[in-house]
Point group: C2
Chain length 449, copies 2
């Protein structure tokens, strides 16, 4: 039957098929509603003109791809998809926690309480609003920021889906103004990449034992990206003198500072310095905090503390491009802070991580005395310098053959830098003490064989 053809009458079809006429009428109505047929009183139902024939989709490989998209216009910094870790049973992962270290009872209670909040009937609570859940913002101001020496009111805080998401907002807000960004190398390059991929000029600066060096080129930067407490990956702390110089420079040059305070909660032998933001009398520091390290990365929750006008613009942008932050994570963390369980967990993990660090340090000294490193005062990883005749890739391969994963430091250097070949990182956040023992004992076995 072709377009324009007439369907049999509902009465006739009902008789032929031996089913109720009402069923046929409903089916015809549906076909008409969907545009496949048209019906006029007294004229019956006719097949509509439909040009395309519905066929099942072809397999993806045979599909065409827009030509103009064939070349990647701005290739990403790296293929960021995490690799599968199948044959590996011990993973010295970086910046991540061991999930069975989480306070599961506290999490369970907090999730139940969060759900109770959702039962409260109020449509405005469906989304927490562009700034974030008001209660969480209050708790951050009252109980989290003071630990870092920061005084802020709610107009200075925006909740984000983690620090990377925070930086994506900041970079989209600032990129149209042009200018340049300074950052330390080796460093956490996926943050400056967000700016440089949008046309901002990058000013890489060497990092020494006092943190990022303020080389002369830095004077022209409109934005300085720093991790004052533990510069990633080397772990050094920005010295008080350099902090003061950076704040002065920002004031003089009408610039902003992006302070990434990603894991200062984990300190072992000394308290961390107060955040740079705590000395920010001019309102030039944009402070990034996160709950992903304290809890787990999948919680994807962070916050920005900045000048209220910046927060207003960032909130609008966050609303437009993300519709605010995940409500479940916000409710969960609100509960955990309010009950004191977040701080309890933090205190416990400081001890847990310190023990792992000390155990790891003992093994490293004993098994690999030729490697150079400083004991990390905080954070969750060792930064190791290899002797000139040892190459990082070889070491990683050798460990990998024993079922142990060491992560590459290549991502933290500009492409083609040779320096990365002589450095290793070993994380201790995501391994148990038993796993540390096991890992190093695999080298004993080899020596015995």
């Amino acid at each position: 039957v072709a377009a324009g053809g007439r369907l049999p009458s509902s009465r006739q079809l009902a008789r032929e098929l031996g089913i109720a006429r009402r069923t046929i009428v409903l089916a015809f109505e549906e076909l008409c509603a969907q545009g496949y047929c048209t019906s006029q009183t007294g004229q019956g139902t006719t097949i509509a003109e439909i040009s395309s024939v519905q066929e099942s989709a072809l397999s993806p490989n045979t599909q065409s791809f827009p030509q103009w998209l064939e070349l990647e216009s701005s290739p990403a910094l790296f293929d960021a998809t995490p690799q599968p870790t199948t044959p590996i049973d011990i993973d010295f992962a970086l910046g991540t926690t061991k999930l069975n270290d989480l306070p599961h009872k506290a999490l369970s209670r907090a999730l139940q309480n969060s759900l109770d909040h959702l039962k409260i009937d109020g449509t405005s609570f469906d989304l927490a609003g562009s700034h974030g859940h008001a209660k969480l913002i209050e708790l951050i101001c009252d109980r989290i920021l003071p630990m870092r020496g920061i005084q802020a009111d709610p107009s200075q805080v925006l909740i984000t889906n983690g620090s990377q998401n925070a930086v994506s907002l900041i970079s989209q807000l600032l990129a149209p103004y042009g200018g340049s960004i300074s950052y330390g190398v080796p460093g956490y390059l996926s943050i400056p990449w967000q700016f440089t991929s949008q046309g901002i000029t990058g000013i890489p600066c060497p990092v020494d034992r006092d943190g990022m060096q303020l080389i002369p080129e830095v004077n022209s930067a409109r934005l300085h990206y720093v991790m004052p407490e533990h510069h990633f990956p080397t772990g050094v702390t920005l010295s008080p003198t350099r902090r003061a110089a950076l704040l002065r420079l920002a004031e003089q040059q009408d610039a902003l500072i992006l302070e990434d305070d990603y894991d200062s909660e984990f300190y072992y032998d000394r308290h961390p310095l107060p955040a740079l933001k705590s000395q920010d009398r001019g309102g030039r520091v944009i402070y990034l905090g996160t709950f992903s390290k304290i809890l787990f990365n999948g919680v994807r929750l962070g916050y920005i503390v900045a000048h209220p006008e910046l927060i207003r613009r960032l909130s609008n942008l966050h609303w437009l491009i993300n519709r605010g932050s995940n409500l479940l994570s916000q409710l969960l963390v609100t509960e955990l802070i309010e009950s004191g369980n977040l701080e309890r967990h933090l205190r416990r993990m400081r001890g847990v991580y310190r023990n792992r660090r000390d155990l790891m340090a003992q093994y490293l000294l004993r098994r690999f005395p030729q490697w150079q490193w400083q004991i990390p005062q905080g954070g969750m990883q060792f930064w190791i310098e290899l002797p000139p005749d040892e190459l990082a890739e070889r070491v990683r391969e050798c460990w990998s053959q024993r079922g142990i994963r060491l992560h590459s430091v290549n991502l933290h250097y500009p492409q083609s830098s040779l320096k990365s070949q002589h450095h290793l990182m070993i994380g201790f956040g995501a391994v148990s003490e038993a796993q540390i023992h096991q890992a190093f004992q695999r080298f004993d076995k080899l020596l015995q064989d």
Copy 2:
């Protein structure tokens, strides 16, 4: 004591203060570690040169703001922060659900099960990876997409933090290639805004009862943004003829189609047409699905179905700028799909929403016979045309005086369009039947007074 000055010896100070010397030594070590002092064996401890004096932050109002930031470079489409709704007790909100309609028992069980997943010891589970939680992707392919007539394998799916977040990824990927985007007006303008704010040319198209019109200017577009099932805000369905034409056009012009399928799960009198993506033999449709409407907006979870090469690039970008999607929401929705509770909830809500819609329709017919509208076949709102002598702002004010909130349609028209003055939207997703009765009875009372 000035910089360079020497601190008393630990022995001396311990005697003076009457406390253990070990305590003093620890305190000195901490001061040195933080850079406030330096210590050399045999020389005692001296005060370091620190240029800045730590003072508490000034109040935000006295803080300076970078001059170059004073003008907003690309002012946002609108000040998107949702307004507080204090004196309002009935809110006919749009595209949002009533939170106490949620299946709280099922949610509670699902959250507990999610937590059990977190107990599984595996660091790779900390983040779900850039594509999303593998199990959720599988379930979307097996159980969600077939309801929309779509066949896809996991390589064609990326989980995002909601549809807006999905569009932010797509716009950042495509914007560097230039070109233009077509979209319907009135429409959901914050989606095309994400492209036009990055330099893509916008091609607004009128919308009639068959959906977005394919005006001649559309031929040059590299991207077409459509909501085939229910065009927001008018609620019309893209006709089969126009669907076929759009697919043909994309194929001929080497273009892409962005299909926003935001609430087709809520249909009442007829089944929705299969998604445009189901007829996409050329792999040119980028399909957007979301769980925010089925559950609640704060769950911030959506997905993209597209050509595997696009998904690969979008996943990398998602990793770089968001570190993937929220794990809690992913685990929650995985549980809800797997247990069948998501579909049960959906079936129930179809009935709940249909009843609200029908009740609302009765009241509208009776109280405001001069208003013109079509009964919504799906979705969660009425689109109403006012007679020429009635202005939307006046109507909204009049309702607001009775404690009832109607939302403005201004956001869905280009700025300064006069047409918005004669249209109203009334959402029925977030109000109970009792509230609908109450709202309209407030007009009865007025008539009696």
